[in-house]
Symmetry: C3
Subunit: 348 residues, 3 copies
């Protein structure tokens, strides 16, 4: 990171400075591990307490952040501390991939096409008739099947496997070990108790600006397409089955599993390790607590649910409080039963 | 797809035609997205409603499918609409891998043997003394360890890792990113709170006609073998630990985890994200609802369970209905307590 | 395995022999599948019953193992039967990787360094300025990013992906398909409902003696490091998010998910498929039952919890027993209500 003064950073972020405008910043830190010469931020209230003890020289906070006596660090007030910090990180990101070129150790099959400024690194395999857009970066060991298209500015990290006939949009980031286009899990039971495989002749379509976490799997459709709409963010180790559709800007945390043909709306937020049975429809802006089990469609936009099977969040929370007290409830019930017997005897 | 008439398709499937025998079909569609010139099917009752609105020219239905007025599409009645559709898909599957040959960019170590008509694609590594059967297809980036044997007609999709000494049967399909034969998770606690690794000197045996989904992991046995019996179907991202055995024709959905030495019977159906503790025995034809936790053996063949820990399915369903009403139950209990106090006062 | 007599094995293990000292052993077996000429062990009480039926010629048992009449096998009594068996397995492990050398089919970028006796196998990619310690073994298809360091005696199984700037300690074992250093899942919501990616400029640090199971994912920190402390054992398909820290000698079973910035103490034991929300602190020696959901910090060292959300283990067990009986409880409550009404009528 180049060196900046607090004043320069405040200017970049349109922030208001409280403290020493000349203090110098040459790195980033987490608030609880702040060091002199670094800038940090506080957005989550869990971390407010560190404002007094942090050794970070500058801390980004929101405009309405309440300060009391005894803050030794310089503050820069901004509209959204997390976003502002992200902006600084992006300015300084030295983790970017700047190399381009097509390795002589890569395989490019006949009739495949690559655009300008691409990186196709060692041991990459690109199948027949594949189309690789401008500025695409494909890191080592990735497999791009026949007829796959990859939109411009997309990054494929190492060891990704994209089966034949799938399409990936522009400006996507796909992490190591991701599998796109594996066969859907479809088998027709036979009379002798074994199964006949249902051919999976569809594909997967990933739209623009999608990020897909490491080792996540997205199966191809039986017929038609499994579709990940633009702006979707998928974390690691997620399972998306054949013929699913995930709506625009929906965010899905790690290890979620979605069974076949389920359609999820726009701007949903889905907690880690949740599971969905197949053939459901989930409305827009639905929020699903971690580890929930969704066994029926959710029609109301914006609904918040929890549980397995899931129901309305607040009702779940109340029911679970009662669950924790169930042994007491049992004791009380037995006591009341005893009381009633006594009363009956007395009133006989 | 070649073009067929409805009559030709009815003949192929031994079906009964209702409607226009001359209508032409040149593709497949899902019932809810049916287009003119395509054939679709209805098997799941959830989709019955689409029979009136679909634009598919022909729809496969079961022989007892009830029709009312206003169906504009041609029907073909068959014994099993899903199987019949699968048969058509298989006839038309243009997704098949037809290439063969051994790439000059593959590694084949000394004393490895390959049968007739194999595909060993770029960047494949085949270890010493490995035996690859006739018609086997190994796509790019797969690793086949020393002494591994792979039965004829098996397909290995890209990026599969099979450790030394494992065996794979005939006619299997293994998807991208699968790991077979990684060490079992065995460590003996030491007096200083750390662990000594238990060597895992066994292997994995996959029998014939097994399908394994993307990024699934099957650990080798400590001693002896982890065994996947013939006809088993495993979905994506499943964990099967050391010394497990999965019985014939059992079907396991995505993200299930099975701990060490657990044995599962034949023809079981195991819902997604379920987990099993180690050293259990599960009888044949057991059905386990998604997200269940199996903490003790299930001895009764055909039992259906749910919950974590799991118990009998219908009892679980009833208990969960009560769980949802727990806050009301609490209120009622408090009310009764109050009533009893009043009565006691009055009868004093 | 070379051939040993029971007496020789007893000497190696400092064990006490009961039975035939001259009986010959040339292999290992599981107690329930014991064969003549093999040695087995019993540690788990579930397997005590096999002592009468096993055909293993020698069985390792603990010093206080109770024997009755009718045991036909030779026993060797030791302090810890599982550890003793592990010791024998290690002596005989023929699964070891003995090859060394740098393949001409590997890529080693400029300024990368490798120590003595390394194995860098076919299709391995080693980035710029990477440092590979003595005796390290890197199997085919692994990707080692720029500036990565790998400590001596560490084994990387096939197809591992380690992103730039991460460090791996000495004597680690990392299994196939593991991803280390993928981007943390960080996105700042924007006013138009889509998300801005937060650059992830930190790294991952894996300390010494760590084992990581197949297809597990460990994300890089946003800033700073995601840290896996020495002696940690991770099973397959685990998700560890950005900025987490896992304390020394903690053992985590398969398919666990840990959200961002959560810190787990030393010597914890975490059951399979458990999940943790972000920003928690878990004390040392905490035990977490399988499939639990941890939604708040656990401050008491050694606490044992279960449930989702999790609470104290014994209370959970009791509450769950009541949960199973909930339908009966409902019936009883309704009955009591009826009784009270009757009493009220009578006393009116």
């Amino acid at each position: 990171m180049m060196e900046y003064t607090a004043r320069q950073i405040a200017d970049i972020l349109n922030g208001d400075l409280e403290g020493d405008p000349e203090i110098k910043i040459k790195g980033f830190s987490k608030i609880e591990e702040g060091k002199e010469g670094t800038i940090s931020f506080i957005a989550n209230p869990k971390y407010f307490k560190y404002i007094h003890s942090t050794k970070a020289s500058v801390v980004l906070v929101s405009r309405d952040f309440k300060t009391e006596n005894g803050i030794n660090t310089t503050l820069i007030r901004v509209n959204d501390a997390y976003q502002a910090f992200a902006k600084l990180l992006a300015l300084q990101n030295n983790n970017k991939l700047n190399t381009t070129g097509v390795s002589s150790k890569a395989t490019i099959k006949e009739n495949a096409k690559a655009g300008k400024n691409v990186l196709i690194d060692d041991y990459v395999y690109i199948g027949k008739h594949a189309v690789i857009g401008d500025n695409v970066k494909i890191l080592p060991h990735s497999y791009i099947g026949d007829n796959v298209t990859i939109g411009q500015d997309t990054i494929l990290h190492p060891g990704i496997k994209i089966y034949n006939n799938c399409t990936i949009g522009q400006n996507c980031v796909i992490h190591a070990g991701v599998v796109i286009g594996s066969d859907g899990f479809g088998f027709a039971p036979q009379t002798n108790n074994n199964y006949q495989k249902i051919p999976q002749i569809g594909n997967v379509i990933i739209e623009d600006n999608v990020e897909i976490g490491a080792n996540t799997c997205i199966d191809r459709a039986t017929i038609g397409s499994t579709i990940i709409r633009k702006g979707v963010k998928l974390d690691n180790l997620i399972q998306i089955a054949h013929n699913c559709e995930i709506g625009e800007n929906t965010v899905i945390a790690a290890q979620v599993g979605i069974a076949g043909s389920t359609k999820i709306g726009k701007e949903c937020m889905i907690g880690g390790q949740s599971g969905f049975v197949g053939h459901l429809e989930i409305a827009d802006r639905v929020k699903i607590a971690a580890q929930s089990g969704i066994s029926s469609s959710i029609k109301k936009p914006g609904q918040v649910v929890q549980g397995a099977p899931a129901f309305e969040f607040n009702r779940y929370q109340k029911a679970y409080v009662c669950f924790r007290k169930l042994p007491d409830l049992y004791d009380k019930l037995n006591e009341l039963e005893h009381e009633i017997k006594k009363i009956k005897k007395e009133t006989d």
